[in-house]
């Protein structure tokens, strides 16, 4: 017998932003689908439910005519299913393959990484958010997209304002204007770069899309998705991995002794604090999920951050443990929309950025534990990570 969706209505939006995990744990116990009033959406928090949903795109669709993402970015591949989605994804794929990441992007990321480390090294201390992770992610994304060297702060601003626009459920006109302005500036950048990419095909995402013959509307929309969704994730993964290791020095010693552990360490970091905590799906036909009745056109939030802390899947889930038994997680999503940037992120974060930080900055340590800040729920990561090292 199916029952209505239970509600959590005694937590504030700020509670969610500060630490959503206790709220997820409550929701997970209450049912497969639980409405969190402060978030204004019904959340799916159990690992197996999300896997089931992502294997059934006909029932749980990414197509959503009312999507704010589409309003801000155009008709992006994130809000399509089936053949349309597959064709657009294929057009970007050559730039994002693991082989391309290793052969082409790794040397470029390495140069950016070393420059950033050298710039901050003499000071002996820094907030890794601004001094390293944000510029690393932004400049890496600039290279990957084929943007030709946009100032990293500009790119970071575009990314943030597009995401703010996509989450602008209250319809704030100032946020909408800012998102539209960033969207225009991205289109101008694309227009400026396209002649070069046409004249000299290369490994960048823009070039791949040109070579695949994508129409300009598609290039605009999907490059905006890559700007909105390709910056904060590697940035937050870098910071989370550094934080996890600095808070667990035995694990730091283990990964220094055995560099093969950098891969598992990265996967554990994004499981522990998933940079993208939630993404939506639209219920395309009435369905019952784990005893909860879902109506057609209802929005549900797939809370992968919660699933990655599901004790039915991960023992002692709130503990950062790079040595836990290998077990797939949902930090990159699942199904046809599995993060296309996964392999590039693995190369940037676990092969270059974080190992080199620990290599080059002797005795890297948290300078001020009270100054460490972690915030967010839809997107979550450290927002301040003050560290020091021996000069």
């Amino acid at each position: 017998m199916a029952s209505p969706v239970p509600v959590i209505d005694d937590v504030s939006f700020d509670d969610l932003m500060n630490d959503p995990y206790p709220i997820y744990a409550r929701a997970r116990k209450m049912g497969s689908v639980v409405r969190v009033a402060a978030a204004n959406i019904a959340l799916v928090t159990r690992f197996d439910d999300i896997v089931e949903i992502e294997r059934d795109p006909e029932t749980y669709s990414s197509v959503n005519p009312a999507s704010l993402v589409n309003k801000v970015m155009g008709h992006t591949l994130m809000r399509k299913d089936g053949a349309d989605h597959a064709a657009e994804r294929k057009a970007m794929e050559p730039a994002l393959r693991p082989g391309t990441a290793t052969r082409c992007w790794a040397p470029k990321f390495e140069a950016i990484c070393d420059e950033l480390i050298e710039a901050m090294r003499p000071s002996g201390e820094a907030d890794l958010f601004d001094a390293f992770a944000a510029p690393m992610a932004a400049r890496g994304l600039d290279a990957l997209l084929g943007f030709g060297g946009v100032d990293w702060r500009r790119l970071a601003h575009w990314s943030q304002s597009l995401m703010d626009g996509a989450g602008n459920y209250s319809g704030d006109p100032a946020i909408a204007r800012e998102a539209a302005q960033s969207a225009r500036e991205i289109e101008e950048t694309i227009a400026r770069m396209l002649p070069q990419h046409r004249a000299a095909p290369n490994d960048s995402v823009l070039s791949a899309m040109v070579q695949a013959g994508q129409p300009i509307e598609q290039i605009h929309a999907n490059i905006k998705v890559a700007v909105g969704g390709g910056l904060n994730e590697p940035r937050d993964a870098i910071l989370t991995l550094v934080l996890g290791l600095l808070e667990n020095l035995d694990q730091l010693a283990a990964v220094k002794a055995d560099p093969a552990l950098w891969g598992p360490a990265f996967e554990e970091a994004v499981r522990w604090i998933s940079p993208i905590g939630m993404y939506p799906r639209r219920v395309a036909r009435p369905v019952t999920l784990g005893g909860a009745d879902l109506e057609q056109d209802q929005q549900i939030g797939l809370c992968v951050a919660a699933a990655n802390h599901d004790p039915a899947r991960f023992a002692d889930p709130s503990r950062f443990d790079i040595l836990r038994p290998k077990q797939s997680h949902l930090a990159f999503g699942a199904g046809a929309h599995f993060c296309a940037g996964t392999w590039v992120a693995r190369v940037m974060v676990s092969k270059l950025a974080v190992p080199r930080l620990f290599e080059r900055l002797p005795n890297l340590r948290i300078a001020d534990p009270a100054g460490v800040r972690i915030r967010g729920w839809v997107f979550r990561g450290p927002t301040a990570l003050p560290v020091a090292w021996d000069r």
Binding site: E93, R97, P98, G99, S328, F332, G335
Partner: protein
């Protein structure tokens, strides 16, 4: 039809399968260890690596560059008859075949 999956430790399981379904889907539906299928058949996650019998491999159209790239970065090294299970759809002549999940 039937497919047998052999694990790295040599243990084998034979499961029922239907025409047109992928080797990844059959494995996931039967909870065969070692085949995860995170991307559900989009050739994006490299978690459904299988090794086919030579004769079957030879009969199929060769893997595209993208699939080869993914196989090169799968957890286990690519072998001459490696494929992503999601890219192999079952046809009549595969009935009864044995595929190996690499170590």
């Amino acid at each position: 039809m039937q497919i047998t999956y052999v694990q790295p430790d040599g243990s084998a399981r034979t499961v029922k399968a239907s025409l047109g379904v992928s080797l990844m889907e059959v494995a996931v539906n039967n909870a065969i260890p070692g085949i995860v299928g995170e991307c559900n058949g989009s050739a994006a996650c490299a978690t459904c690596h299988v090794v086919l019998p030579q004769a079957v491999f030879d009969r199929l159209a060769p893997p595209e560059d993208h699939e080869i790239d993914m196989l090169d970065f799968a957890d286990s090294p690519r072998q001459p008859c490696s494929r992503l299970g999601c890219q192999v759809r079952l046809s009549d002549e595969m009935d009864g075949m044995t595929v190996t999940i690499p170590a």
